[in-house]
Assembly symmetry: C2
Homo-oligomer: 400 residues x 2
């Protein structure tokens, strides 16, 4: 028996959206699913009870952060992150590759993996397919991700990171670099599959790369899906290429993936992006937006985001969203109070607004699942005006 | 009918400890009571539900912070802090005088009050008996405190603040300064009583001053208790004078206060100080220790405090205190995980350890109340070894 089962329960006739259910050793989650990000095995100020209160059924940990601190060996001795953070539901870990590469000024990419300096103590560390599998095995997530080579969508001339990598690799042509990343991702997937083979209780997902080059995307799908894996992800998206490019890639790539496996669009995104991707047939999403924006006093509402530091909220007795049932809104905390908390730098502010923002995304997913079940896709636009609004999206370059 | 009722329910035969119950317009609390401090109308990362989960029945707000931000007029328009922070139990506010005087380098003390610069925008602001009553009226606390002149216990030569005040006032003799503070506190109490007279739903407590001079303390009790007030506080304690001096002042002053009124020892303190003061007949306590230490990874246990950043906890799977029923301990969060949260600067760490620390003090108060009810005072020392330990107290100069 596989570590993961995926049932398809309904399909929308309006588009390719699917309703499903994924079952893991730590329970099930409904798809389309939104996974909030507990980077270092903590969802910022939220306790597991508060995370559950947002309706989240599965959460994400970042292998990169946990690899550096407290370290894979220590986490393993402590029984993995389920036990450590007292979250008994499903957990997914990313491979750490993207962050090792993008978060360090000193990262050097090679066929072996990424070598970089730890942001904690400056020591030189290496992360590659085998060590990524190892740390994800140690963390004990229910779903783990292949270690991939995620080439930025931007041209070298426009992207400092990519220029540096291009220099270190002697690659000066962006098309060549994308080709290289695609092929290396396939070679690394072979190594991940082999390295992970012994762990039967964790489901390894492959990741399709290819940036905005649709021919590369097609070839990546073929290469990745040559491995019969419990799920597949679309990576290299939401790395600065813009909403329309995301749409083009997602609508092209998703239908190429096996119908009977969950499909995960990594690091996306705003409500509009999620709805677009669900309509294209994506089942799983993660994004740091709810917590990152929550920490910065930016609250999501169905009508679009509001900035709670704005003086116009100073005496506003309404909750963030009167229609919301989250801990902050149903608890009766006013915009005026939340603004005060941020002005006074009280950490209850980030906690409450993060709880609200995660609930906002989970309510969207609830409505998406209802729209599929009832085959009433167009009802979504009525309840969620932010889906159709350009104002609601100041940026789409949000990656975990 | 007064805004506050105080019932005495039992007395210890071993000492002067009393068991009681105070009833306010927002409900009752059992005495001896510990009041955790929600400085700016927020108990750091804890929601009101989490505060209630610690067993806290009454909390404290700081008028000084709320006076400066968001301001008394705004708080009044928003319906007071009960409504603002969604805490429907009793609230006590301090007068703001001590903080206005001690937290600003530019404070100038005069018969009118304290003039200082706002730490928020540098503007010149004034707080005196009338404006303190006004802001406390606006906040809407159930118990409000008289605006007093709190002279530091240290000699001018040893205390930079006091030297400065002495200079600005032309007072160079510490005994004269203490005398002045005592007499001014009485004059200011007259002004507070007059200014507050119209508000019948808030109980005004008078504050006894006199530093470590017992003759001044006696005269202060006489002067303050000349006003028939619903409660009385001992102020000017835990401002740097040391444990033995606190004990001397508390054991001398408390029995002089009316038996049928609650007695509040301001800004105290460690477990040992609280137990000593309860034995002397004190009914109410507040201290920032649980939350301040919680933010710094210092956790209280019945055996004494532990520093969770210590490397020896890195793989310790025990909770902070296996006997504790708080959200952190009963929730199964290990010392190893809490240490990780602090090392990773995750705000869940301060939240969980603050919740534990407040619960620690509330469990002490529960045991104190049981010891009085069952007239078994000596049982306390067995369950709370930290009461008798010198190691457990690195400092006693904690003031809210």
């Amino acid at each position: 028996m596989s570590a993961l089962q995926f049932e398809l329960l309904a399909r929308s006739t309006a588009n390719r959206a699917r309703l499903g259910r994924v079952t893991t050793p730590h329970g099930s989650f409904d798809t389309p699913a939104f996974m909030p990000v507990a980077t270092a095995a903590a969802m910022k100020g939220l306790t597991p009870a508060q995370i559950r209160g947002t309706g989240s059924q599965i959460i994400l940990n970042n292998a990169y952060h946990l690899f550096l601190r407290p370290g894979g060996d220590r986490i393993e001795r402590l029984g993995g992150t389920h036990r450590l953070m007292r979250w008994n539901g499903p957990i997914l870990t990313d491979s750490g590759g993207y962050q090792a590469y993008s978060m360090s000024d000193t990262a050097v990419l090679s066929e072996e993996g990424v070598t970089f300096r730890s942001f904690i103590d400056g020591s030189k560390v290496h992360l590659g397919p085998e060590s990524s599998m190892r740390v994800q095995n140690q963390i004990g997530a229910d779903i783990i991700m292949a270690f991939d080579d995620c080439a930025p969508a931007a041209l070298p001339a426009e992207d400092a990171d990519e220029r540096r990598v291009a220099r270190t690799r002697g690659v000066v042509d962006h098309a060549l670099r994308m080709e290289e990343a695609h092929e290396r991702t396939l070679r690394w997937l072979d190594r991940c599959v082999q390295s992970h083979a012994r762990k039967q209780d964790q489901a390894l997902f492959g990741i399709v790369q290819g940036a905005t080059n649709l021919d590369l995307r097609r070839r990546s799908v073929e290469g990745v899906c040559a491995h019969d894996l419990p799920g597949y992800a679309i990576g290299g998206v939401a790395v600065g290429e813009g909403t329309e490019a995301i749409r083009t890639v997602v609508e092209f790539t998703t239908p190429l993936l096996p119908d009977n496996r969950p499909r995960y669009l990594m690091g996306v995104g705003y409500e509009r992006d999620i709805v677009m991707a669900v309509a294209a047939g994506v089942d799983m999403f993660d994004c740091v937006l709810p917590t990152r924006n929550g920490r910065n006093a930016n609250a999501f509402t169905p009508q679009g985001p509001i900035r709670l530091r704005n003086a116009r909220f100073a005496e506003d007795s309404l909750p963030i969203d009167p229609s919301c049932d989250c801990e902050a809104c149903a608890g009766g905390f006013s915009r005026a109070y939340l603004r005060h908390l941020f002005m006074a730098e009280e950490m209850l502010g980030p906690t409450l607004v993060s709880a609200h923002n995660i609930r906002h995304f989970q309510r969207l997913m609830l409505d998406i699942r209802t729209a599929i079940r009832e085959d009433a896709w167009s009802s979504l636009l009525v309840a969620w005006p932010c889906i159709g609004s350009d104002e609601a999206h100041s940026s789409t370059d949000e990656q975990t």
